[in-house]
């Protein structure tokens, strides 16, 4: 297999607000060409920090202390703001979490979709408009012209997310960061959107870093996955293998926490206390050993 498209290497970050509390603990993961890689964990596990680090929009109170984000042979963390802007939107695109706030309420869809195409692909206004209509058709929107002429509030949440997916993939990026793209949607719409992301990704050979807290969702779209807890990688591997035989107790706890239709009364328990205790001990041991530079 060729070199991975995105290679995050021992990325560590701390919070400047909480007295240097670690947020990411030497996280390494790689996303291959044409691979959908799931990044799973509960809230606060550091999933979003990783996504934001790739996009260069790390909040001011977070500081990356070490590590690298390799993309196409370059370390994104060492690029200048200008170099990074050239990469973003062109080679890396984002499908955001909340379609309600990702679109500007006072601009029509056509204006918002053509922006990126004109800036990043150098299309003329007319070419961009035609391309935008074609892109909407590709995400199975039946009446692209009408959607293009609409304002975001005139579209349903699922439609808006389709528009955003079309806009992201329309830039023909090499990597798409999907940050909880279905969390704000109805369950019925979720499934269509997941299917759509997978179909577009396969058609264009795009790599996707799929951030989610929902193992069920990740199981449906991801080839491989990384399980994160308190900023530390707990388990990594092919989705089918990890889900069939989770090696780490935390992954097992996560899986057990997934509500199931066939067992409605089980699985709604919080992570068992002995698992949490073991996790905390593991994190503490890791932090203690991480004082010395580690190899391996």
């Amino acid at each position: 297999m060729s070199a991975p498209r995105l290679a995050i290497d021992a990325l560590s970050a701390i919070s400047l607000r909480d007295g240097g509390k670690p947020i990411l603990r030497r996280v390494s993961l790689s996303v291959g060409r044409g691979e959908v890689h799931g990044l799973v964990g509960e809230s606060g596990a550091g999933k979003s920090t990783i996504a934001k680090a790739v996009l260069g929009i790390i909040p001011a109170q977070v500081k990356v202390t070490s590590g690298a984000i390799g993309f196409e042979g370059r370390n994104l963390l060492s690029l200048s703001a200008k170099e990074l802007r050239a990469v973003l939107g062109r080679d890396i695109a984002l499908v955001p979490q909340d379609p309600a706030t990702a679109l500007n309420p006072s601009r029509r869809i056509d204006a918002q979709m053509t922006d990126g195409l004109r800036l990043k692909r150098g299309l003329s206004a007319r070419e961009a408009r035609v391309r935008a209509a074609a892109l909407l058709e590709e995400v199975q929107i039946r009446d692209p012209e009408r959607v293009l002429m609409s304002y975001p509030h005139q579209l349903s949440g699922g439609m808006r997310q389709r528009v955003l997916i079309a806009a992201a993939f329309g830039l023909e990026p090499k990597l798409v960061i999907a940050d909880e793209p279905t969390t704000a949607l109805d369950v019925t719409v979720q499934k269509q959107i997941l299917r759509l992301i997978r179909a577009l990704q396969e058609r264009h050979g795009t790599s996707v870093l799929f951030v989610s807290h929902d193992l069920g969702v990740v199981a449906k779209v991801c080839d491989r996955l990384t399980v994160l807890y308190m900023g530390k990688v707990m388990e990594q591997g092919a989705t089918a293998e990890v889900l069939a035989a989770p090696r780490h107790p935390y992954t097992r706890a996560l899986l057990a926490a997934n509500p199931r239709y066939d067992r409605p009364d089980t699985g709604l328990e919080p992570t068992p206390p002995e698992v949490v205790a073991a996790l905390r001990a593991e994190i503490a041991a890791f932090d203690a050993s991480a004082v010395e530079p580690r190899h391996g």
Partner: protein, 300 residues
């Protein structure tokens, strides 16, 4: 992997009836229609006062002083709402009074809006020391009692329309600045603004394309409210004799004159007061209705 249904069903374009244009939405709002109709009438009265007013607003006739409005005993034909202590036609004076009131409303509120919102946009979007500077300036500015400040200003600048307008602009730009700054800061946090910045659109483009349109509804509401305020401030300054010279009829000046003979001729006070009241209500209603219709998030 999960069972992927073959070729997913096309998404139904569940986007409801064709979107109403802003104009057709405005036309359907009774508040906007009523209030803008009233303001339009005021504008016509102000522009064509000399054609519409039945009498010369300055012509005195001491033989016909304190004539009551039509329908009261002692009313004179041709003087619909009576005359004042010098026998001048109250209706004509109220009509001519719209000139000063509307000039002040549009010019003063417009300038205050321009200056205040420009500074507010800059402070909210650029942040840093520019924001600190502008915000502290607004804080200090707002610590002055406005009526006192305006009287002081007009006293220094000398009475007259220019001074009244200047005083209102100098005092009220802070209203716009403060609100627009907050709105802009909220907008700057939105995902679409962050995205535009991340992929490298220029700052002015982001400010005017992504942020400004979302601030406009608030801006228009504020502007119309400010017009109402400006009309009142002008009336106050006229009342204390610091506005235009007394040979130009103004509502505030008429209220001041009417106050002295309220027991003999109440209509001299009531007519300009009613005009002032209706005008302020109309501006407020218009602002409210416009804000509602122009706000894209509230559009349904």
């Amino acid at each position: 992997m999960e069972h992927w249904a073959p070729a997913s069903a096309p998404a139904t374009a569940d986007i409801g009836p064709p979107p109403l244009s802003v104009v057709s939405r405005l036309v359907r709002d009774p508040k906007v229609v009523g209030a803008s109709g009233f303001v339009l009438v005021l504008i016509v009265l102000a522009v064509a006062a000399s054609l519409i007013a039945p009498k010369d607003p300055l012509a005195q006739n001491l033989l016909l002083a304190d004539v009551p409005p039509a329908g009261f005993s002692g009313a004179e034909p041709g003087y619909l709402i009576g005359t004042d202590g010098l026998g001048r036609d109250v209706l004509s004076r109220v009509i001519f009074g719209t000139r000063v009131s509307l000039t002040v409303a549009f010019v003063a509120a417009g300038l205050a809006c321009l200056i205040g919102s420009l500074l507010g946009l800059l402070a909210g979007y650029l942040g840093g020391w520019i924001d600190t500077l502008i915000s502290r300036l607004v804080d200090i500015w707002m610590a002055f009692p406005p009526v006192l400040l305006s009287i002081l200003l007009v006293a220094v600048l000398g009475a007259g329309l220019h001074s009244v307008i200047t005083a209102i602009v100098v005092i009220d730009w802070t209203r716009f600045c403060r609100v627009i700054r907050t709105e802009t800061m909220g907008q700057a946090q939105m995902d679409y603004v962050v995205a535009a910045r991340t992929i490298g659109f220029a700052r002015p483009a982001i400010l005017f394309r992504e942020i400004f349109p979302n601030v406009v509804p608030v801006l228009i509401a504020l502007l119309t409210l400010e017009m109402g305020i400006a009309v009142v401030v002008e009336a106050i300054l006229s009342f204390v004799g610091l506005s235009v010279s007394s040979d130009t009829p103004t509502w505030g000046g008429m209220i001041a004159e009417g106050r002295q003979l309220v027991h003999e001729a109440w209509w001299v006070l009531a007519a300009p007061l009613a005009a002032l009241f209706a005008t302020v209500v109309a501006f407020n209603q218009l602002g409210d209705g416009l804000a509602r219709s122009l706000d894209p998030v509230l559009r349904r």
